[in-house]
Symmetry: C2
């Protein structure tokens, strides 16, 4: 056989992307074979090479689009020129919402960096650094304004990002906590961690107060 009835390049490519994110997140990039991926899509392995010249190209595409999406989401969500506490709250909310919504893709972007060629690794890391820089700027502004109490801006930024991204490790939609509850609790922890003076977060917590429990 050859071309199948109803076959459509765009749809197939989208199906490949989706299946690849799921398989790589579950099995790991190295452990996923192109035949396995093809079977998941319902196609022969050779057909994949019409859309991605190599396996690594596929991985890189997934990662790049994920990181670009993260930056775009932040650029859309960032407050115009607000005070540091509100900006930090927006950053936390955007980060958690984005990462929970794209758990698998985040897994891939964080875990499979070592499978990229040096040049491509650099490109992904640049995007990541640009994103982290936004957080550092917020923390610095807040510290200089005396609103935050921070020992080391760089270190605090890394700690916050690790803490927030860690959500994807244990969070499962539809279990004990809702996304709103998780977000509210993380926002509260973040504000305490940076020693926020004004309770800019208590306002944000108001509409998710039932989250408080242990």
């Amino acid at each position: 056989m050859a071309r199948t009835t109803g076959s459509d390049g765009e749809k197939t490519e989208a199906a490949v992307r989706e299946a690849a994110v799921g398989l790589i997140a579950r099995l790991g990039y190295e452990a996923m074979s192109m035949r396995q991926l093809a079977a998941e899509v319902g196609v022969q392995a050779a057909a994949l090479y019409r859309y991605f010249p190599t396996k690594e190209d596929l991985l890189f595409t997934l990662m790049r689009e994920h990181m670009e999406g993260l930056l775009e989401a932040w650029n859309a969500a960032r407050p115009a020129a607000a005070e540091p506490a509100a900006r930090l709250a927006a950053y936390v909310e955007n980060h958690i919402a984005f990462h929970i919504a794209r758990r698998h893709a985040t897994h891939v972007s964080n875990m499979e960096l070592r499978s990229l060629s040096p040049e491509r690794l650099t490109r992904i890391l640049k995007l990541r650094t640009a994103y982290e820089k936004e957080l550092r700027a917020i923390l610095r502004d807040g510290a200089e304004a005396g609103i935050f109490k921070i020992d080391d801006v760089g270190l605090t930024a890394m700690a916050l990002i690790q803490m927030m991204t860690g959500v994807i490790v244990w969070f499962r939609p539809g279990e004990r906590l809702s996304i709103a509850e998780v977000t509210a609790t993380y926002l509260s922890m973040t504000m305490r961690l940076v020693g926020a003076k004004i309770d800019a977060h208590s306002a944000a917590r108001r509409h998710a107060k039932d989250a408080v429990a242990f």
Copy 2:
């Protein structure tokens, strides 16, 4: 050729373990070949099978010993029956010291879980859960005593562990910050995050005050 002069089973096995931790941390378990590992040790691939019956046995051994070592380290470091704040400080200090000292092994234990068989995965996760349970107990005691201000004990425990373990991602020995400085800053962030009332941490920070900088 066959047995080489000066060859010693114990030394070879130790060399295999060490090389494997380094290679798996750098390349990933699936990406590391047994031939590559053997070359690093200075031996033929077949020789590895004298010490580990399969590649997965090797991975499991590394992970199990790492997790057991973590629990042993905490059992040796835990205060007898102190107040929650001091216990939490001890937990944080032990966690960071252990993970920085064994960065590569931690990387392996955290990233390669999916390469284990279901039964072995369960065994490793049991060890991890036991370790996390210790932190939850401290947080619960502190919250009940009114010393900590915590919304959700389970969620806070996960957030703290993710935050602390994240150190191994960016920390490089001999760079800007010393281990003592990093530990002091993380301890301070932890105490703020859990809303510690009494400044039990300020005492611990006293002997690493120069860490404060950004």
